[in-house]
Symmetry: C2
Subunit: 639 residues, 2 copies
């Protein structure tokens, strides 16, 4: 009978897992994983392929549903952040041409900054909805997601999240009678702690500090192992969709075995007195799981494993029954979740990191709390909360936003000083080993992420040293064939325009022209037979929106142009589409200083001009890739 | 008997008021007012005289104590923010030479950025201590105080506020037995609301929206009137300390008359049943004030006026006795506090704005709540909280930080969606009339505050248009007399250095040299008889800390130099102290774009270079003052 039950359990899990993996592997590989690193990279200015495409959105939503249903140790929070960002991107690019959904009135977002703002709001809304935590969402967007912060953006995310809060509130109100399944259970406060501990003293503080140190150590080890596992998986995943699905099946089997097998290791525990109605339970809800036990007894590990993640967290945070879980239970659960969390992240399924981290943290927090029960009078439920905080701090390395999310999850304002303390310690300890898990993943995926600060080794170089590649420049009025050749031969997105003696006394830097604008200009065939400036007709030919930033994957390409041989010999005036005052730095500026300028202003191209006069007016162009460590470190002499 | 009581009340108030005013008028005029605008301006880069000096710190602490004791309608929160910033500045400049308190190990803060960070932390700690609101303090520093935000700064303020939270927590623990007077009353949650309103529906939301609109209107009117009154007062205050004290005495008398006289307007109310022990009360603490009433009766207005501000707020937020205050009471109280708040801000006393605004907001919120009692089932105490939120939003125009401060003040997480809604509406309504109160005061005080965004009219000008004044440049190796003349004749803090043909083929921009560095160089008399470069001896003569930023008012001045006539004819090599890669913009760059660069990088000088080659290598220098509306608007053609 038990084997049949296991077969049903593992089989159903596997079907869901295969659905999720198939969606992910075949339709949108970018939807695998948490999605927060991708959003972070996008908001830093990395326009990677399809990370916010409509297909990714679709797979993220349904893949996440299947993945969570399959019983994986994954959360829905990261995917919800990614989903929010994808929806925002979908709106921001004015719908999708491919799927015949177009809205003209959204064209006001056809520029980098407003679209980035919209996507930040989307990410913030994702956190707000995932944790019922509107302020935590704003802070998450500020601390972790966004690279550039403006007060207008604060106001916009706040507005978004106020709307999210109202909508979630109304939906919970609507679902009060239980007609929406598990949704709305527990109201706005998802994991109420209710542990009225009025005071704490030195032993308590020492216990909390111990938790912080443990969280830092476990957290940095977790990040290290996740990184190793991800690198191994990426070798497997590269072999094709079949291997991806196979990997998912393996992990699914492993998870099912753990969830079903481990509860056999514990003996049955007798139900606490006064809870005869609730304990043991075999239904969909409930705290004390019966599993193989007699009536009047419950299985501790089954109460954690064979439950929804939310309920497992509630059980761990609960302070009503201090002895609900024994030390061995908590230890086995912690080890299993820690291990499963590491091997699960990286498979081709949308998988959030918050829930595994909270589960593992809460279990070792409760473990430490039970262990120190004699010297500390803090509650074990509170220890579980602080353990979760410490592990979150140790892996994700956020401060204010985690603090706020935990506060909004648990409504335990009086414990704020302790939560702050534990976060500080765990972050400090973990930071001395490695970087936060999202930063690691961003780096592992190869996104050219610009750090907010310049690295010390950048001071050993000047701007001129890192300008790479041969410089391609255009004249103010350039031959069409030259432009077309340059566009075809290189992938550059910006070209300096030099005014030659016909238009000025000596060669001077006229400005910078963008590839996308050149393509619009060439497409319109606004050519002349000789080198003359285009007059006011230019304004009649084009509108400002012709040069607006297109949606991802919707811009003109060189292959779309159809230019005949006669036109090749004609000239086109680049002045009207040239940015005549690009940001410039002198060639002798320290690379660190140039990096600060580049990053703070959020540039894509930075012109390097000569220090001494009477030379060619531009030395090179710096782009994001020129500041990457791989590139810079190779150029440092004697290193 | 009542007249004698009034004389004692008004007399004591006046003595305290005179103490506060005398301190303020005679020792540190910069300590008057809230202090938040000054901190905000400092963090924007305005090094105004003595705004963070030790004397200001002293007066701010004791003036605030006297001012609050004098019964003025002022808060202690703004002054605490200023106090925190002053302490941070005191530490950051390594103590004070003037008062013989010097710490060498604090020299690491002798640069702009770290000192600014330290002061931001100080301001955040002030908020955290004032409201027992560590996260609110971090967000306040982020949203209102700081102009530049880095993740390192977030982490530092968070750390500071975690320490503040732990210290406040320990002090409250220590004072639990009541041995510290009023301190620690109510624990970490200052104004617990305790109104378990589980649900709200459309009429409730409409009522809340009405509150938001009202808050916006009252708030913008308040800002308008405060501005007018401040301008009037500044005329009076300019006449001298005697006039300042006289103004304070007038306002003190007015306040005493209101607080003592207005309670006579209400009839006595009979005590609620079941509260015979607490009501009426004549002691230091207590909710229901007896005043002139019989035993068994209390005076409603006296319960608000003749109480500490904290207790008055608690009374208004209280939901235990719905009918504690009648409509007429609330209306009179609101009108009086609104009026007194306006006339009190601007007198020569440290005066915070938070408490008056919360009091006025809570009273009209409770008024609206009582009025709409029949159609809304929200609690009057909750209405008072939302009223306070709406008025705070309407005057101060913060969002997340106010939300968080209110949350930490009241521990009412379930009402977060309503608080967010009301803040959004009131801020939106008020923003359509005028700016936030702190921004208004910054502007009125004439601080050259750089806004985060460029104004639209800046697009009509280019960088060259606003460069003001004759440009003074130095050669790479310059005559001492020329330098000294330039330093004496102008107040410029930065001078371009041009390498002339002796050191280069054509005149080229070598860089920018700072006044403070020139003074150090001249003081050391590192001169040569002819135009030669100073070799490696330079490094032996100076240390990096010689050029560190001195504390406010402690730097070298031109008058400190003692240079004889022979030395005047000698030369000094400026190359070692020149910043050889200053940030530059071309003269044709739009002023708006230059303003963004200037503001985002937090510059003090921005070199404007010519667009066309073969001209003098610098056109001018832009400083903060060149971006101020007064200057720019006068230069726009046809305007």
């Amino acid at each position: 009978e038990y084997y049949r039950a296991f077969a049903a359990f593992a089989g159903l899990n596997m079907i869901f897992a295969i659905c999720a993996a198939a969606l992910c592997a075949l339709i949108a590989p970018a939807a695998a994983g948490s999605g927060i690193p991708e959003v972070k990279a996008y908001l830093n200015g990395v326009d990677a392929h399809s990370i916010l495409a409509p297909s990714t959105l679709f797979v993220k939503i349904f893949g996440s549903i299947f993945g969570v249903s399959a019983g994986f140790v994954v959360g829905k929070e990261g995917p919800m952040v990614h989903t929010g960002a994808c929806i925002a991107n979908f709106l921001g690019q004015g719908g999708s041409c491919k799927y015949h959904l177009n809205w003209k009135w959204l064209r006001y977002f056809k520029n980098d900054r407003d679209r980035r703002d919209l996507i930040t709001c989307g990410a913030a809304a994702g956190v707000a909805a995932a944790f019922c935590s509107p302020i935590g969402g704003v802070l998450f967007a500020l601390e972790e997601a966004a690279s550039w912060w403006r007060s207008a953006l604060l106001w916009r995310t706040f507005f978004t999240n106020a709307v999210v809060a109202m909508v979630v509130r109304s939906l919970i109100e609507f679902c009060r009678s239980g007609k929406c399944g598990l949704f709305g259970q527990g109201g706005l406060i998802m994991f109420e702690v209710n542990s009225a501990v009025p005071s704490y003293n030195t032993p308590d503080l020492l216990a909390v500090m111990l938790l912080g140190v443990l969280g830092g150590l476990f957290g940095s080890l977790y990040n290290y192992l996740v990184d190793k596992v991800l690198r191994t998986y990426s070798i497997i995943n590269e072999r094709g969709p079949a291997f991806k699905v196979l990997l998912v099946i393996t992990v699914s089997l492993l998870t099912s075995c753990c969830a079903y097998g481990l509860p056999w290791l514990t003996n049955c525990t007798s139900c606490p007195v006064g809870l005869e109605n609730e304990c043991p339970t075999i239904g969909r809800f409930g705290n004390y799981r019966s599993f193989q036990c007699q009536p009047g007894y419950y299985n501790e590990l089954a109460s954690l494993f064979l439950n929804t993640n939310d309920n497992a967290i509630r059980n761990l945070f609960s302070s009503r029954n201090k002895n609900e879980f024994h030390l061995s239970t908590l230890f086995i659960y912690f080890a299993a979740i820690y291990f499963l969390g590491i091997v699960t992240y990286g498979i081709a399924v949308p998988s959030g990191l918050f829930i595994p981290v909270i589960l593992a943290g809460a279990s070792y927090g409760r473990f430490v709390g039970s262990l120190l029960g004699s010297i500390s009078n803090l509650d074990v439920g509170l220890f579980a909360l602080l353990g979760a905080a410490s592990f979150l701090g140790g892996t994700m390395r956020m401060t204010v936003s985690l603090c706020m999310i935990l506060l909004e999850l648990t409504n335990d304002l009086l414990m704020l000083p302790l939560v702050m303390l534990v976060l500080l310690i765990s972050k400090t300890v973990a930071d001395s080993f490695n970087k936060g898990v999202y930063d690691q993943i961003v780096k592992m995926k190869g996104f050219p992420y610009m750090e907010a600060h310049a690295e010390p080794y950048m001071k050993q170089l000047v701007a001129r040293d890192v300008c790479s590649g041969p410089l391609i420049t255009f004249s103010g009025v350039e031959k069409v064939s030259n432009i077309l050749h340059a566009l075809r031969m290189t992938g550059h997105n910006g070209f300096p325009v030099i005014d030659e003696p016909l238009f000025s006394d000596a060669p001077e830097l006229c400005g910078l022209v963008l590839r996308s604008h050149l393509l619009v200009l060439l497409k319109a065939k606004f050519f002349a037979n000789n080198q003359v400036l285009s007059g006011p007709e230019f304004l009649r030919m084009f509108h400002a929106f012709d040069f607006a930033k297109p949606g991802s994957g919707k811009g003109l390409r060189v292959e779309d142009l159809d230019i005949n041989d006669d036109e090749m010999e004609m000239y086109v005036d680049l002045h009207p589409v040239t940015n005549t005052s690009p940001y410039t730095v002198v060639e002798t500026m320290s690379l660190a200083k140039a990096a600060v300028l580049f990053r703070k202003l959020g540039l894509r191209h930075l012109c390097v001009i000569p220090k001494t006069p009477r030379r060619f007016p531009i030395v090179g162009i710096l782009t994001r890739h020129d500041f990457m460590p791989e590139h810079v470190l190779g150029l440092i002499p004697h290193k």
